[in-house]
C-alpha cells in the first residue's frame, strides 16, 4: 500500500537556444490536423554499462514509445510510423538529414541518447528538431534511476508539448480513481492510482468497504475520499507515500463530496444532518470546522476557484439541481446555470476561466464547460451516463467516467474513464485494468 518515492533525482540542463521555430500548434481551436511528428528510437551511447536488468527495459525503443503514446493521445500530434524513418537513431540525434525527414512529411523530429553514468544513473538526452526550418528547437539532459524512466519520457513529452503550444503539458501526472468489479448490486470498489497513460497501476485499498470520489491534494501527495468503513460513510484522508489513512473530523453523520482547498490546508465537503446536506470546511491541522452554507436544500459537490476566493457547488434550492457560485465564506450565492435540464458536479478550471460540469437533460448526460458567470455554455459530449469531470493541470483536457446501460441482470453494464479536450475534440478512452469511475487528475509531479 505504501507508495515509495521512487524518483530520486532529476537534473535538467538546457543546452539550447530559444531558436525560432516555424512549427507551432494553436490549441485554442479544435485541432483537426495533428502535427506530423517523427520520434526516432534513442541510441545507446555506452552499451557496455547497461546491466542485464537495464537492457531488459529496452529503453531505446520503449522510452520513445511512451512519448509517442502521449503525443498521439493529445490529439495535437500524429506520430509517423517508425518503419518509414530513413535515418538511423544515432545520426538522427547527432546530425539529422532534414531532407530524409521532410520526405516522410514529418514537421518535427525527436531524437535521443541514453547513457548510464558513473553513479549508475540513467542519463537521457533528447533533442527536438524543427524539420521545416532545419533547426534544433529544444534540448535537455535528464538524470534518474533507471527504474523511473517512464517519468523521464513524460517530462520530455511535456517539454515537446510546451515548446510547440506555448502552454504547460500534463503528461508527468497521475490519476487517482475508483477501480470497480463485481455485479452492480454488490459492486466492489477500490481506490487506485496510475500514471496519466495508465502505466504503474496500483490499488490503494483492498475493497473491503465501499470507497468513492477520491481527489488529489494540490501537491499530489494526499488523497481525500469517502469511505463506508465500519458502515459509517465519512470523508477520509490518505497519505499516498505512507499509506496512512485517517477520518476527517468527527461529524455526527455522513460526510461526502470532499475536495482540497487550493492551498491544501482545508478539505471542503458536504455534511448531512437530519437529511439536509450543507457545505462545510475543515482545517486539516487544527481540525477546526466551519459551516459554509445553511440552506434546507441539498448543497453539495463544492469546488474552490484556484485563488481560493470563491466556491462553485450544486444545490436544488431552486427545486432542481443547479450550479451556484458563492464567496468562500458562503455569502452571495448566485445561480450560474441557466440552460434547460439539471446541472451538477461543477469543477473550477486550474486556469480559473471555466467551470466544467455534468448536465442531465431529457435522459441524456453531458459533460460541458461554461464561464464562471454561467455564460458561454458548451456541451462537449453526450451519452447514456457520464459525469464527474476533472481537469488536466493545464486546463485543456477533462477526464471523466462513463457508464453503459445494463441489460437483463445488468449484463453489458460497464464503467470506464474517458478524456476529452475542452475544444470538444479528441475524445479518448483511458485504459484501466478493471472498470473505473471517479477520476481525479493530479498536478504536474515535477512542479
Amino acid at each position: 500500500m505504501i507508495m515509495k518515492r521512487i524518483f530520486l533525482f532529476l537534473l535538467i540542463n538546457f543546452f539550447t537556444t530559444n531558436a525560432f521555430s516555424l512549427v507551432k500548434i494553436d490549441i485554442t481551436r479544435g485541432n483537426l490536423e495533428p502535427l506530423p511528428t517523427a520520434i526516432s528510437n534513442f541510441y545507446i551511447d555506452n552499451p557496455e554499462k547497461f546491466t542485464e536488468k537495464i537492457k531488459k527495459l529496452n529503453l531505446d525503443i520503449n522510452l520513445p514509445k511512451v512519448i509517442k503514446g502521449n503525443l498521439n493521445r493529445s490529439g495535437l500530434f500524429y506520430v509517423l510510423d517508425n518503419k518509414s524513418y530513413i535515418q538511423k537513431p544515432k545520426l538522427s540525434h547527432l546530425k539529422p538529414r532534414f531532407e530524409d525527414w521532410k520526405l516522410i512529411k514529418a514537421q518535427i523530429m525527436v531524437s535521443g541518447k541514453l547513457k548510464i553514468d558513473d553513479k549508475g544513473r540513467l542519463r537521457v538526452e533528447f533533442r527536438l528538431w524543427d524539420v521545416v526550418s532545419g533547426k534544433e528547437i529544444e534540448g535537455l539532459a535528464l538524470f534518474a534511476t533507471p527504474s523511473s524512466w517512464r517519468r523521464i519520457a513524460h517530462i520530455i513529452s511535456d517539454k515537446i508539448y510546451q515548446r510547440l503550444t506555448g502552454e504547460e503539458g500534463y503528461f508527468d501526472t497521475r490519476i487517482v480513481y475508483v477501480g470497480e468489479s463485481g455485479p452492480k448490486t454488490q459492486r466492489v470498489k477500490k481506490l487506485a492510482i496510475m500514471d496519466q497513460d495508465g502505466a504503474n497501476n496500483k490499488f490503494l485499498t483492498l475493497g473491503n468497504e465501499l470507497v468513492l470520489t477520491p481527489r488529489f491534494s494540490p501537491n499530489g501527495r494526499m488523497v481525500t475520499y469517502m469511505s463506508y468503513f465500519k458502515n459509517l460513510p465519512r470523508v477520509y484522508l490518505l497519505n499516498i507515500e505512507t499509506g496512512i489513512q485517517e477520518v476527517v473530523g468527527d461529524f455526527p453523520g455522513m460526510t461526502f463530496a470532499p475536495r482540497f482547498s487550493p492551498d491544501g490546508k482545508k478539505v471542503i465537503m458536504s455534511f448531512a444532518r437530519d437529511g439536509n446536506s450543507d457545505i462545510y470546511t475543515m482545517d486539516i491541522k487544527s481540525r477546526r470546522v466551519e459551516q459554509i452554507t445553511s440552506n434546507p436544500a441539498i448543497d453539495t459537490s463544492p469546488s474552490y476557484s484556484p485563488d481560493g476566493r470563491f466556491i462553485v457547488f450544486n444545490s436544488d434550492r431552486s427545486g432542481v439541481q443547479q450550479i451556484y457560485v458563492m464567496r468562500s465564506d458562503g455569502r452571495k450565492a448566485r445561480r450560474i446555470s441557466r440552460g434547460k435540464g439539471l446541472y451538477g458536479t461543477p469543477v473550477w478550471s486550474p486556469r480559473g476561466d471555466l467551470i466544467a460540469f455534468t448536465k442531465i437533460h431529457k435522459g441524456k448526460f453531458y459533460i460541458g464547460v461554461m464561464r464562471t458567470n454561467g455564460t458561454g455554455e458548451r456541451l462537449l459530449t453526450q451519452n447514456f451516463y457520464q459525469e464527474a469531470p476533472s481537469w488536466s493541470p493545464n486546463g485543456r483536457v477533462l477526464i471523466f467516467y462513463r457508464e453503459t446501460a445494463g441489460g437483463k441482470k445488468g449484463q453489458g453494464a460497464s464503467a470506464n474513464l474517458w478524456a476529452i479536450d475542452i475544444t470538444g475534440y479528441n475524445e479518448v478512452k483511458i485504459k484501466t485494468p478493471t472498470d473505473a469511475s471517479d477520476p481525479s487528475w493530479s498536478g504536474l509531479l515535477s512542479k
Binding site: T185, N276, A405, G410
Partner: protein
C-alpha cells in the same frame, strides 16, 4: 403530410402504446414510483421492508405511509432498532444521489417518529446509487431502486 411523416407518426403511436403497456405491466405509477411487489422483502410477517419514491423526490405517498405505519407498529411492539437505508437510482450524479438517499432515509425516519417510534430506535444511512436492487438500466429497474429499506439493526 408526406409519406415519411405518416410513417414516423405511426411508429410514434405504436411506441407510445408499447410504453404505456409497459408502464402498467411493470407496475410503475403515473407518478413514477414503483407500485409492485417484486424485490420487496419483509421486516416481519406482513410488514414490508421498503417503500418507493418518485424521481428526485423524497415525499411519501399514501401507499408508502401505509407500509411505514406497519413498520412503526412493529418497531414499537418488538422494541427492535432499525436502520433505514436510503437509495437512489443510477440516473443522477453520484454525490447528489448520496444526499438524496440521506434525504429519503430521513423522510422515513421522521415519519416513523411521527407515528410514535422513538428516534433512538431509528438510524439512517444513505447508499446513494451504490447499491441498486435491480441492476438493469430500465425505467422499471430505476423505480425499484429509488427506495428506502428498513433493516434490523445488528
Amino acid at each position: 403530410m408526406s409519406l415519411t411523416n405518416i410513417r414516423n407518426f405511426a411508429i410514434v403511436a405504436v411506441l407510445g402504446f408499447l410504453l404505456s403497456a409497459c408502464a402498467t405491466g411493470g407496475k410503475r405509477s403515473a407518478n413514477d414510483w414503483y407500485e409492485g411487489t417484486d424485490t420487496v422483502k419483509f421486516l416481519a410477517s406482513g410488514v414490508p421492508d421498503r417503500i418507493f419514491f418518485a424521481t428526485n423526490r423524497s415525499s411519501l405517498h399514501t401507499a408508502a405511509k401505509s407500509t411505514l405505519n406497519k413498520q412503526a407498529a412493529y418497531i414499537k411492539k418488538s422494541g427492535l432498532s432499525v436502520v433505514v437505508e436510503g437509495h437512489a437510482d443510477e440516473r443522477g450524479t453520484r454525490e447528489y444521489n448520496l444526499a438524496l438517499g440521506e434525504r429519503r432515509a430521513n423522510a422515513v425516519r421522521d415519519y416513523l417518529m411521527s407515528q410514535g417510534v422513538s428516534g433512538s430506535k431509528v438510524t439512517v444511512i444513505s447508499y446513494g446509487k451504490e447499491r441498486p436492487v435491480n441492476p438493469e438500466s430500465s425505467r422499471l429497474a430505476w423505480s425499484q431502486n429509488r427506495r428506502s429499506v428498513s433493516v434490523k439493526a445488528k
